[in-house]
C-alpha cells in the first residue's frame, strides 16, 4: 500500500442474504485511490455501486476483505471508532440532497460540524456559489440543494469525498455546473458513482460490472 493512498480495498466482498438466497454485490474487489485523485465508478443499476460507496463510507461492513481509510484499517473498529473516522476523514453526498427542511441552508451546512464555526460554513457556501445563507431548502432548485449538500460534506475538512450518483436527478447543464465545482477541490480525493457516460472527461473512470471492477 502506498502511503499516499486514501482509500484501499483489499479483496473486499459483499454478499447479501435474503430469504436464504445469496446475492454477491461485490466480488473480491481490490483497488486503491491515491491522494487528490478524482475517480468515477460507472456501472448499470445493480452493479454494486452503492454498496461500494457504503462500504467505503463505513456504513456497511464487508463480508470479507479489508478496507483502509487514510491508512487506518477499519476491520476492527467499533461504532465510536468508525464514527470518528467518518467525522474526520469522510464526506458524503447522495442522489438526493437530504437537507433538513426546517433548517436554513447555513444551519444545514453547520449540522455535522465538530465545533460550530459559522464563518467557515459561509466560506464553504461561497465556494459552492451560494450566498443567500438564510434561505430554506424548499426555496432552492435541486442543483442548488446538491451544492448545499456538497458544502455540508466538506465542513469537517475530509480527505475523502464519497458521492453516490449526486447528478442522478440533474439535467445535463446542471450536471456540468455541479461537476465543475469538483475542479475547485484539487486537494480532495473524490470517489463518485454514476451511470452517466458524459462525466468521463472529469474523472479517471472505472467500470463496475456486477461486483467486478474493470479499468
Amino acid at each position: 500500500m502506498n502511503t499516499e493512498d486514501i482509500l484501499t480495498f483489499k479483496d473486499v466482498s459483499k454478499v447479501y442474504k435474503k430469504g436464504g438466497v445469496e446475492r454477491v454485490a461485490l466480488n473480491n474487489l481490490s483497488f486503491s485511490l491515491n491522494s487528490q485523485t478524482h475517480t468515477l465508478i460507472k456501472g448499470p443499476s445493480g452493479a454494486g455501486k452503492t454498496s461500494l460507496i457504503y462500504l467505503a463510507g463505513l456504513i456497511k461492513k464487508p463480508s470479507a476483505g479489508e478496507i483502509l481509510v487514510n491508512g487506518i484499517s477499519t476491520q476492527n473498529l467499533n461504532e465510536e471508532g468508525c464514527s470518528n473516522l467518518i467525522k474526520n476523514e469522510i464526506g458524503f453526498i447522495f442522489r438526493r440532497s437530504n437537507l433538513l427542511p426546517y433548517l436554513s441552508i447555513l444551519e444545514n451546512v453547520m449540522l455535522p460540524m465538530v465545533s460550530a464555526d459559522k464563518e467557515k460554513a459561509k466560506r464553504l457556501l461561497e465556494k459552492v456559489e451560494l450566498d443567500d445563507w438564510n434561505r430554506f431548502p424548499h426555496e432552492l432548485s435541486i442543483e442548488a440543494e446538491q451544492r448545499v449538500a456538497l458544502a455540508r460534506s466538506l465542513v469537517n475538512d475530509p480527505t475523502l469525498l464519497l458521492a453516490d450518483e449526486p447528478t442522478g436527478e440533474l439535467d445535463e447543464d446542471e450536471t456540468d455546473n455541479f461537476i465543475g465545482l469538483f475542479d475547485k477541490m484539487d486537494d480532495l480525493t473524490i470517489l463518485m458513482t454514476s451511470d452517466q457516460n458524459s462525466l468521463n472527461q472529469f474523472f479517471q473512470d472505472y467500470e463496475l460490472e456486477y461486483g467486478v471492477l474493470k479499468l
Binding site: 457504503y54 463510507g57 456504513i59 456497511k60 461504532e79 465510536e80 464514527s83 470518528n84 473516522l85 467518518i86 467525522k87 469522510i90 458524503f92 447522495f94 437530504n98 433538513l100 426546517y102 433548517l103 444551519e107 453547520m110 449540522l111 455535522p112 460540524m113 460550530a116
Partner: protein, 236 residues
C-alpha cells in the same frame, strides 16, 4: 451546530401534534396543581386544628373559654342530628375523629386523582415521539452517515421528549397558578385555604420532565437502531 441543538429545532416540526401533547401535559399539570394544593390546604387545616387541641373541632371547642360557645353548640347539634338521623350513638370526640380521618382520606384520593391526571397527560409523549420519529427515518440515516453515533441520536431524541414535558409543565404551572390565584381571590374558599408552596412548582416541573424523558426512551432507542441503508431509501 451539534446534534443536541436539533432536539430544540425539531420541536418546530409537527407543530400541531407537539402542541396537542404540550397542552395535554399542561392540563395534567393544572389538575395536579389544583388537587394537590387543595389537599395541602386541607392537610394544613387538619394539622393546625389538631395541634391546637388534639383534633380538628376540639380546637374550635376551646373557643368556648373565650366566650364563643356558639361553635360548640354547632358541634353538639351536628352530633345530635347525626345520631337521630343514623340511629347511632356517636360522642362528639368520635365524630370529630371520624371527620378527621375522612378528610385525610379525601387528601389521599385527591393526590391519587392528581397523579393519574398527570400520568394520562404525559403518556401522550410516547405516542407523539413515536409518530414524530417514524417520519424521520431518512434524516436519521443521514445523521449516521455524518458520523453521529447511535448513542448521540438516542440522547437527542430523548431530549426532545424531555423538552416537550418541560414546556408543557412550565405552561401548566403558570396557568394553574393563575387559576388558583383567581379562585382564591374571587371565590374565597372559606374554611379550607389552598396552599401553593414553591416546592410544588419545582417538584411538578421536575417530575413531569423526568417522566417525559423516561417515556421518550423507547421511541428514541428504536429510532437509534435504524439501518442506514434502508433509512436512506425511505421516502420520509
Amino acid at each position: 451546530m451539534g446534534i443536541y441543538a436539533l432536539s430544540w429545532k425539531n420541536l418546530r416540526r409537527n407543530r400541531l401534534r407537539n402542541l396537542s401533547t404540550v397542552l395535554r401535559i399542561s392540563l395534567g399539570v393544572i389538575i395536579l396543581l389544583i388537587l394537590v394544593s387543595s389537599g395541602l390546604g386541607i392537610s394544613s387545616f387538619i394539622e393546625k386544628s389538631g395541634t391546637s387541641n388534639g383534633n380538628i373541632l376540639a380546637g374550635q371547642k376551646s373557643n368556648q373559654t373565650s366566650g364563643t360557645d356558639n361553635q360548640t353548640n354547632i358541634v353538639s347539634s351536628a352530633v345530635n342530628y347525626l345520631n337521630s338521623f343514623l340511629g347511632s350513638t356517636f360522642t362528639e370526640n368520635q365524630l370529630i375523629n371520624r371527620l378527621e380521618s375522612f378528610l385525610v382520606n379525601v387528601v389521599y384520593i385527591l393526590d391519587g386523582i392528581a397523579s393519574i391526571a398527570l400520568l394520562i397527560g404525559v403518556l401522550g409523549i410516547m405516542n407523539t415521539m413515536g409518530f414524530n420519529l417514524s417520519g424521520r427515518k431518512r434524516e436519521i440515516g443521514l445523521l449516521k452517515c455524518m458520523g453521529f453515533t447511535k448513542r448521540q441520536i438516542f440522547i437527542s431524541c430523548t431530549l426532545e421528549a424531555g423538552l416537550l414535558g418541560l414546556i408543557g409543565s412550565i405552561i401548566g404551572v403558570i396557568v394553574g397558578t393563575l387559576g388558583i390565584w383567581i379562585i382564591s381571590t374571587f371565590f374565597q374558599p372559606g374554611l379550607f385555604t389552598i396552599l401553593l408552596p414553591f416546592w410544588l412548582f419545582i417538584g411538578t416541573i421536575t417530575v413531569t420532565t423526568m417522566l417525559s424523558l423516561v417515556l421518550g426512551l423507547y421511541p428514541a432507542w428504536f429510532t437509534s437502531q435504524i439501518n442506514v441503508e434502508e433509512a436512506l431509501l425511505c421516502e420520509y
